[in-house]
């Protein structure tokens, strides 16, 4: 017989506390970023910190609702949830007005929603449901194709919205596939081609020929048996690789529009664009660097530069952490994110249900990707790709999206324990 239990039964308090800490620190930094000595109240809803407070309240409410719903719901309805989300993405494509080059927002009354933020949870559920099935085997070609389709549909729809950053997030699911048995070689091969692709853009085909040729020669001379067969094999690989290099070169020079070429060159650091992407990174580095070891103190950031980074409360919120809290602050934030991701991975591995484990890996991968790209971007280690820092960046849709993503996992994990009793 089932007795009435609290919705908090069995939930992982470590995750909940990490969540609350991150949300609270995020809000503090949004407050600092828009702070103005004249502002009256922290509840001033005309200001971003006031609005974010409302978003936080709403997200906590939604988190409670998620905990209230039966754990079975998420696995049972994963496919309908996925389909509904894809339809929503199509609606966005058809109806959204263009904002800053992207069509990714829909207006519901006074509210603006960015459905791409919710597509991540839906895709994670669908992928978990598919891969978690007893009959699914990773090594089957069919499995790889279907998994590719599950990930490809939202990625393509979001790309059509011109929201490249959110699209790239779906690449993070590669880690999930790897954990579920996708050959590491496939991932390494993909990675190798990605590196080759970037190198092809960076260097002329001639340089590439010299580089690849030298690698080939070295490989040849380090082999014990220097047979003709080996030489031919290496030569063949070289031809294939150079073919790839030339086609990238051709694509870049003859297919892309000049402004697209410029954007890629800026991304690769070949061209300086102090007004555009490169400019923001420079400002962001100055801000973080000027924080020193202990920071300038809460609300004491002195640099006017904030005004020149347009996304100071969204994509570049980490600047505020760096400037006002110094290395100590950035250390704490990075430690919290690392703890969150490791904790999710750890809990995932203790699951009996494959569904929950895979879903957990999806959550961890998404957080890792956002964490890596966003912070990497602000310190100049990653290209400028506009995606938010989970729980930190200003924005209702992203906060709600990440909350849903995390709390479904917390519920699934808690549900496991409930069933054990």
């Amino acid at each position: 017989m089932r007795e009435q239990r609290s919705i908090f039964d069995g939930i992982d308090w470590v995750l909940v506390i990490l969540f609350l800490l991150l949300v609270f620190m995020g809000w503090l930094n949004i407050y600092a970023a828009v702070f103005n000595e004249e502002h009256q109240s922290i509840f001033d809803t005309t200001q971003r910190y006031g609005k974010q407070l409302i978003f936080i309240g709403f997200s906590v409410f939604v988190a409670l609702v998620i905990l209230l719903i039966d754990g079975k719901f998420y696995s049972t309805f994963s496919v309908p949830i996925y389909i509904a989300n894809m339809l929503l993405l199509i609606v966005v494509l058809l109806t959204a007005k263009e904002v800053a080059g992207a069509r990714s927002w829909i207006d519901i009354g006074p509210l603006k929603l960015q459905p791409a933020e919710f597509a991540k949870s839906a895709t994670a559920l669908a992928l978990a449901s598919f891969l978690g099935d007893i009959n699914t085997r990773m090594k089957d070609l069919q499995t790889k194709v279907i998994a590719g389709i599950i990930l490809g549909i939202p990625a393509a729809l979001i790309l059509l919205q011109n929201d490249t950053g959110s699209m790239l997030v779906f690449g993070a699911f590669a880690l999930v596939l790897y954990r579920e048995g996708l050959s590491g070689n496939i991932l390494l091969l993909g990675l190798a081609f990605a590196v080759l692709f970037i190198f092809s853009l960076l260097f002329t085909p001639l340089t590439m020929l010299i580089i690849l040729g030298s690698i080939g020669l070295i490989a040849f001379f380090f082999q014990r048996k220097k047979t003709w067969k080996l030489g031919l094999g290496i030569g063949g690989i070289l031809v294939v690789l150079m073919g790839f290099v030339y086609s990238v070169d051709y694509l870049f020079n003859n297919v892309l529009e000049p402004h697209q070429q410029v954007r890629i060159n800026v991304l690769l650091g070949k061209e300086d664009d102090p007004k555009g992407a490169g400019y923001n990174v420079n400002q962001s580095k100055i801000a973080i660097g000027s924080g020193g070891f202990t920071g300038k103190g809460f609300l004491k950031g002195t640099q006017t530069k904030y005004d020149f980074v347009p996304e100071q409360t969204t994509d570049f919120i980490f600047c505020t952490v760096g400037e006002e809290w110094g290395f100590l602050g950035t250390f704490v934030v990075i430690a919290l994110f690392t703890a969150l991701i490791l904790r999710i991975l750890y809990i995932s591995e203790r699951q009996r249900s494959a569904f929950t484990r895979i879903y957990g890996y999806c959550v961890a991968s998404i957080f890792l990707f956002h964490f890596m790209i966003n912070i990497g971007m602000t310190i100049g280690l990653m290209p400028v790709i506009g995606i938010p820092l989970p729980f930190f960046s200003y924005g209702g849709s992203s906060l709600l999206g990440f909350t849903i993503l995390l709390f479904i996992f917390i519920k699934l994990d808690g549900y496991r324990l409930q069933q054990l009793r």
Binding site: F35, N36, G289, K305, A335, I375
Partner: protein, 611 residues
Amino acid sequence: MAFESKHTDRMYVVMGIVLLVAITFLGRLFYIQVIDESYRLSAENNVLRYETEYPARGLMYDRNGELLVYNEAAYDLMVVPRQATEVDTATICEILGIERDQFTRRMVKAKAYSWRKPSVFEKQISAETYAMLQEKLYRLKGFFVQKRTLRKYPKPIAAHLLGYVGEASQRKLEEDPYYKRGDYVGISGLEKSYEEELRGKKGVKVIMVDVFNRTKGSYKDGKYDTVAVAGKTITCSIDAELQAYGEKLMQNKTGAIVALEPSSGEILALISAPTFDPNLLVGRVRSENYVKLQKDTLKPLFNRALQSEQNPPGSTFKLINALIGQQVGVVNENTTYRCPRGYVSGNFRMGCHDHRSPLNLRESIQHSCNAYYGNVFRNIIDHTGKPWEGFRIWRQHVMSFGLGRKFFTDLPIEYAGIVPSNEFYDKHYGKNRWKSLTIISLAIGQGELGTTPIQLANMTAAIANRGYYYPPHLVKAIDGELISNRFTERQNTTIDKKYFDPVIDGMAMVFQQGGTGYRSRHDSIVMCGKTGTAQNPHGEDHSIFVCFAPKDDPKIALAVFVENAGGGSQYGAPIASLMVEKYLTDTIQRPHLEKPILEANLIDPKLKVVH
């Protein structure tokens, strides 16, 4: 795959990646935050200041290379509240000549906008004040001087057409991140239509400033600086002299003149009266003057040439009915009608004035006979036996002259005017329950029609060209490069070329003995014109005249619209005739015609107000 989970060891690879990312980040952060000093500014009090370098806004010239708009340097005193902590209030008040409480109010306002972003503290300070400030700036921490440019107009003409610039509105700031608070943006006229070309590109200088508000040179050798790019030069299609003359003729009147070059669609003059000196809307005096102009009951800010769409074209529209009548075959150049001083059908009567009778097509235009067009119009509408079908055909022909729709060129503002549709009459009278007699006022250009002066000018250009027009536009070239192909797509009317000759003959006869424009004739220029009167239910009728010249090689086509001036022959015709003379001969040799126009004051003294 459930339960016994293979690949568990891969967990360590994934966790390893997470840790690797975290450690890389921490290493990098430790480097830029703790080890690398270059990101840190030596003393806590040293501050970076971002000075925006405003580019010179693009210049504007007329078609003959005469300067219409240029820039003058101006200086704004800016304040960054956060840095302005220990301010020598007395010094600032003394230099600017303001009271202490004024100072406080301005600081409060600046803080309300932003604690960190610079606000304008005093706009456009004078050269002397600027010099004094330069000396004492070191005592005024948080204050600096920002160079800007102001628009200047060497001739006080073409205010509506050129438009004005003003501070970017809150909405503009949100729409386009290029603009920062206090930036200028084109708000009306060409300044608005060509904002992106004119504004150029702002530059930024990053400067280090010490405790004493002294600049210590550029930050990192100007690595983060960008250079401002000046705006592009625009060559307008207008003729400044003709524009100025037209404005002079329209003084003390309300109305509009639009003159076009028929062979290109270029606007030679675009006059809306009353007008104002564009220098009034520049700099410190702008907002005060703007309010005055806005309150003026004669509505000087309203661009009548482009916006006044409620007025019917009056008898000038008979030209169109004459052309359509020939095209659908209900009338030819020899068709005559009697005029018993009006058009009569059963109990219906539409009056006409005294002239000889009967008239042929040419004479019907010369004398502007209402009876003739009553007959022509009813035959057009009824020629298929079904009025609604005939009307639909008629309407298509009318719209091919650019009436009832917009041109979508570079006009800063535009109205479509009104050409009623079948649906309009169906709604009014019931589906197809209306006849040609119901809508007969359209025969003489009254009733539900509405045309803007620029549409009338364009209609005249289409007649002058014998069947086609180029959409009217205001700019010839940007930075010396012709923009011809953007607007010079030839628009054909639905009327065959041959039908224009009798109509144009009739228009030339308007300036001959007995014609409605006889008094405004010119001895050596063969002009073609047509008078019109727009009935005005609120007062005296509006006077309209359309005209082009020379007859065989049209160089100018124009429409004149004078409010509350009665019939077209008294004011419209002489103004149009003088404009043509001015443009084609560059002089005025008919002072007898000019003088009464210049002296006329048609403004209702009851309306003359009161700023």
